[in-house]
């Protein structure tokens, strides 16, 4: 039983991690707290449904497709809704208001385009499973963990082992110095949004076959945000770890306490971690006068 719970929680946790990475990436690169990230996940789920159900795409091709589409949408979002505000006033409050407005626009647009009823993917990612040592390993769960792990690994390698990743990290750490050494900061921030949007869309395309695609699943952005905070906001590895921990706390808390308190347990943990370690698990403590 414990292994089954651990595995299904790991699958859900990996989905949270992908969303959390997006939150942290965007914050690290631009200082923006982007509340519309959850809606990128929602769009990934719904666009994936359209590609699989209506256009008969194979599942993995549909996932690649939604990552591209939503990534581009994320760049447009940054250029239209955030960049002008950053250029003119760089007010964090105005950017937050803009992101909330964007959240509502995307949410209502999804209802208009796809309707309000839950939409089922026509088939699971993978059928059946394997029984090993008395434990049932569903293939779908293993596929989700595998795909999410590959995405996170690819991202990690690109971010830390390529010139391109170095550039993104430089801009995230010090935009002014990066500009002085000739890095196109605006271009780099745009690419960051592209990657964050793509990862959120992948999370949606992994989430929907397990449950369903619907305009309301954007609420998962709150879990992704919580995972990012838990791991250390702005820390990419922390975001990955935060998502996995959050998934496990939800699952085991539901099992041993009550499923009615699933969210209460998860957010209680978040608050406790922040009280004891305000910078998150892997975040760096900053001086208040820095």
């Amino acid at each position: 039983m414990l292994v089954s719970i651990f595995l299904s929680a790991l699958a859900v946790g990996c989905i949270y991690s992908l969303i959390a990475i997006g939150f942290s990436l965007i914050y690290r690169a631009s200082g923006i707290l982007d509340f519309s990230q959850g809606e990128m996940t929602m769009l990934g789920a719904l666009l994936g449904w359209s590609l699989v159900s209506r256009a008969s795409f194979p599942y993995l091709a549909a996932m690649a497709g939604v990552m591209v589409l939503v990534g581009v949408l994320s760049v447009l979002k940054q250029r239209i809704a955030y960049q002008p505000i950053r250029t003119r006033s760089n007010s964090p409050v105005l950017i937050i208001i803009s992101s909330i407005g964007l959240l509502m626009i995307l949410n209502q647009t999804a209802v208009l385009l796809w309707g309000a009823e839950p939409l089922q993917y026509p088939a699971q990612i993978a059928e059946g499973g394997r029984r090993l040592g008395g434990v049932w390993f569903p293939m779908q769960t293993l596929w989700i963990i595998g795909i999410a792990a590959v995405l996170m690994l690819v991202f990690h390698l690109v971010f830390h082992r390529t010139q391109f990743g170095r550039m993104m990290r430089a801009v995230a750490d010090d935009p002014l110095m990066s500009r002085l050494v000739g890095i196109n900061v605006n271009h780099s921030v745009g690419v960051t949004f592209l990657v964050a949007g793509a990862l959120a869309a992948a999370a949606g395309a992994l989430y929907a076959p397990i449950y369903y695609a619907s305009y309301e699943i954007g609420i998962i952005g709150v879990k992704g945000f919580a995972a990012a905070i838990l791991g250390g906001y702005g820390n990419i590895v922390g975001a990955m770890i935060g998502g996995i921990i959050l998934g496990q706390v939800e699952a085991f808390g539901s099992t041993y306490i009550s499923s009615a308190y699933r969210d209460v347990l998860a957010y209680t943990l978040l608050i406790l971690v922040l009280l004891l370690r305000p910078q998150g698990i892997l975040g760096e403590r900053r001086r208040s006068d820095a």
Binding site: S8, E117, W136, S254, T255
Partner: protein, 422 residues
Amino acid sequence: MLRMLRGIGKQRLLVLVLILLLASAVTAGCRSGKPAAEPAKQPAAQQPAPQPAAKDSQAPAKPAAETQPLKIGLVSGLSNWPAVFGVPAMEGFQFAADEINSAGGVLGRKLEMVKIDDEGSPFNSQQAIVKFYEQGIRFVMSGSHSTAVLAQKPKVEELKMLVISPLATDPAVTDTKDPYYFVDMVNNIYLGGSIGFYARKNLNLNTVLTFVRDDAYGTSINKAFEEKFVGDGGRVLAKVTYPTDAKDFRADLSKHLGAKPDAIMLTGFAPESGLIAGQARELGFQGTILATNPVLAPQYAEAAKAGAENTWASGAFSLDPNAMTDATKDYLAKWKAKFGKEPNVYQAHAYDAVYLLKKAIEDAKSTDLEPVRKAMLGIKNFNGASGVTTVAPDGSTQKPVRMMQYKDGGWKYITSLEPGKF
């Protein structure tokens, strides 16, 4: 004021104005509390229009109020999770209204449907009743779920309106001696009790793991189920109460399936019930799944996929040829001709709800509330699309319950249980 505006600066002022415009546009796009597009070409004035002089002096013209359209309020959850049944209910209401209007209306008056989306919110649902009242509407069709209806009910009774619901099956909705709220679907006492009875007596199931949806519907279904199932000697091994937005049940299933229950009882709606069934099968559960009416909606099988096999449900409606009356067959033909697909349980009951009101108005020969309400309470053996309906003194409905089994990719009608036989 001007000094304050000057202090903000032009650029910031422009941004502020843009944000306000954006917020207004978003608010205007929201559905909450806003009636849908009003039907065109309807007289806006409530004052009676002057009538032309009758050509035949021996046939005086009807008073203007008796020729004005009769406004009927329609409230339903058209967004969020209640859309699963709220949208079909609205479709059923409208189909019936269009048909009635094509045939000349009720007592010579066309029906004008005024729609509100309550988004599944009990507060919005209650406010919809108030909005209808303020518009002079006294007859309402409600496609809202039980929890929302329980919020509507006190207002309906306070304002003395007449509401018919095709799907709010919580017994508390009609727990009234002098009802203003009517429900034309059999309630949860029948739906939950019949499946509990059938599970013991016909399926010989001894133990069950129950998933209780944490709202009025789920708890009342579970209560009725347990009364019959446990009362007949069955045992509930464990009861899992889940929040209405839950999607992952693997943790609870992993914890409790080890006790090897004969069956899993589902008390919720189609989407999450389908997820429970699918996840249970994924974890190796091969026993029987028990459920009630909502799982007959297509979303259950879509969510459960192959896991829907061997599900038994107590249903209020069936399109099986052995279960259909002539009225149901007639309705089925008309619905398929218009929509190109079969109707579901909510559409059929919503259709009947409008026709029940029509019958009550015609029996009362009036559109005044009290005569119509009394006529509603006198309806016996109404032969409608959803079956033969008799309105009980508390406003509930007595109808046979259909026992259905999901087998080989579709729902099969097995038998009917008459009220009083279980």
